[in-house]
C-alpha cells in the first residue's frame, strides 16, 4: 500500500439553476470582466488515502463520490488528479 493524494471537483450538474455561480458571474461583470460567460461554483476536495496503486486510489475516490461526496441528483464529479502523497 502507498499513500496517494486524490483531488476531486464536484460541480452543480449542467442545466440546473446555479444561483451562486450567477451571483459570482454578475460580480465579475460589474468589475469589468465582461468576457466571462458562465461561472459554476462547486467544491474541491483533496483526499489522502492508502491504496495499492494510483488506479485503485482513483477507484476508491469515485466510490466515495457516488456514496457521499456528490449528490447524484444534482452534482457531477471528476477526479482532477492523483499523485503520491
Amino acid at each position: 500500500m502507498s499513500r496517494f493524494r486524490v483531488a476531486l471537483h464536484i460541480v452543480p450538474r449542467r442545466g440546473l439553476l446555479d444561483p451562486q455561480g450567477k451571483a459570482v458571474a454578475d460580480a465579475l461583470h460589474t468589475l469589468g470582466f465582461t468576457a466571462v460567460h458562465d461561472v459554476h461554483v462547486g467544491r474541491h476536495l483533496v483526499l489522502e488515502l492508502d491504496a495499492a496503486s494510483p488506479a485503485a486510489a482513483e477507484a476508491d475516490a469515485r466510490a466515495m463520490c457516488e456514496k457521499l461526496l456528490a449528490n447524484p441528483v444534482t452534482e457531477d464529479f471528476e477526479v482532477a488528479g492523483v499523485s503520491a502523497a
Binding site: L16, L17, P19, Q20, A23, L68, L69, N71, V73, T74
Partner: protein, 230 residues
Amino acid sequence: MKFGIVTFPGSNCDYDAYRAVIDVIGEKAEFLWHKDHDLRGADVVVLPGGFSYGDYLRPGAIARFSPIMREVATHAQRGGPVLGICNGFQILCEAGLLPGALLRNVGLKFISAPVHLRVENAGTLFTNRYHQGQVISIPIAHGDGRFTADAETLARIEGEGQVAFRYVDGAGPSARWSAPNGSMNAIAGIVSAQGNVLGMMPHPERAMDPILGSQDGIGVFESVVARVAA
C-alpha cells in the same frame, strides 16, 4: 401512540416537535438519539429541523449515515410513518427515502417568514385533516429549500399525487404558485410513492398555537394520529 423524535448533532427543532406532540396533540413522544439502534416502539418517526452536522458537505448528507437512519429506513419500508421537517426533509432526500434534492435558495438568502401553502393532496397520511386545495399559513426558515428533481422524477411525483404542499402567493382560490426559494413547481412538501413518508420545508411544529401566529400546522400531526389510530 408514540412519536419518536430524532436528535442529530445540530438539530434545533427537536424540542418544538416534542412539545407540539405532547402539549397540543396530547400523544406520547420520546427523543431518539442519532446513535441509537432502535426506535423504542415509536409509531411515527419525526426528523426535525436544524443543521445536522453543521450542514457540512450538503445539508443532510452526513446525518443520513447516522446509525438511527438504518432503523428509520426499515420503519419506512414497512409502511411506518416518517415526517421530515426542513432539515429532516433534506435528510430524507439524501437518504433516498424521498426523491429529489433541496438546493440553495434561488435568492441565496436564508428566509424566515410565514408562507401560504396550498394542500395539493388531502388524501395522504399527513394531510387528511385538511381540505383539498385548502390554503394554510406555516412558517419557513431555511437557506437550502429549493426543491429540485430531474424532469422525469418531477413528472412522476406530480402525476402520482405525491406533491402534498405547494407555495402560493395568497389565501384565495386564485392564488398562484409562488416559491420564495425557487422550488421547481413551487413544491414545499412531498410524500413517498407509498405515501407514508412526508418531507416538507415549512415548519408545522411552529404553527401549533395562536401565540405562534398560526395553528395551521396541527393538521399534519392530527392527520397521522387519525390514520395510525384507525
